[in-house]
Symmetry: C2
Subunit: 117 residues, 2 copies
Amino acid sequence: MTTAALGSRTLAHPARDAVRLEAVLHALSDPVRLSVVLDLAAADGELPCSYFDLPVTKSTTTHHFRVLRESGVVQQAYRGTAKMNALRRADLDALFPGLLDSVLGAARLQADRLEHV
Amino acid sequence: MTTAALGSRTLAHPARDAVRLEAVLHALSDPVRLSVVLDLAAADGELPCSYFDLPVTKSTTTHHFRVLRESGVVQQAYRGTAKMNALRRADLDALFPGLLDSVLGAARLQADRLEHV
DNA sequence: GTCAAACTACGAGGACTCTCGTACAATGAG
DNA sequence: CTCATTGTACGAGAGTCCTCGTAGTTTGAC
């Protein structure tokens, strides 16, 4: 259809107050999603889904980004054919001070630790 | 049997180096287990399983404590008929500095937030 | 209009999770 | 020994999760 009515290509995000710690921890407990969050934090801005080189198919990639969005970890928006992703840093830091940074730090430490074969 | 051979009533714990961030985050992403960890942190010491008043049966309680132990979050040991539980603070702080405290802080903040009906 | 790129929707399989009930084992008190 | 307390083992059901393949939509470039 050509009538791009409002909401046609819009994505549902939980409001800040609706974000739940349990859901955030669950979202971060998957290796694929954790690596995505790590990249997003390093980029410090928007990245398209196609930027990520994940060890899963496109379908599964869509699934993981949806989990990240619905848990409140990332903000998503369409831009042309791409879907841009950004960490919801302000929201997460306001709700759970220090949590995101300590998870990111822990993930980096563990990556270093496991590299030392 | 009366021959209490070594390992008879011993519990398997992951070594510090075997603790995985993903497993810890998953363990903490369940409401029942998160409340247990909150109580253990407040107690700052050992607590028997029977101390906790969880909204699940004994079987399910056993399951949740096993998840916490196998992920490396808690240390367990039998003492008489009781099974004592303690947070593995030193290990967690060494592996993932600040993580446990920020999760605990986030959990308390969210509890306060959700109480304000 | 045609085409490629990016992403989605749907359905499905297999694994894991949370939950329970029942029956059982280990311990310490009497 | 008997008994109550504490926790386990086992099996099972319902639900969720991660994964995929195939077919489709949306967009922008040509």
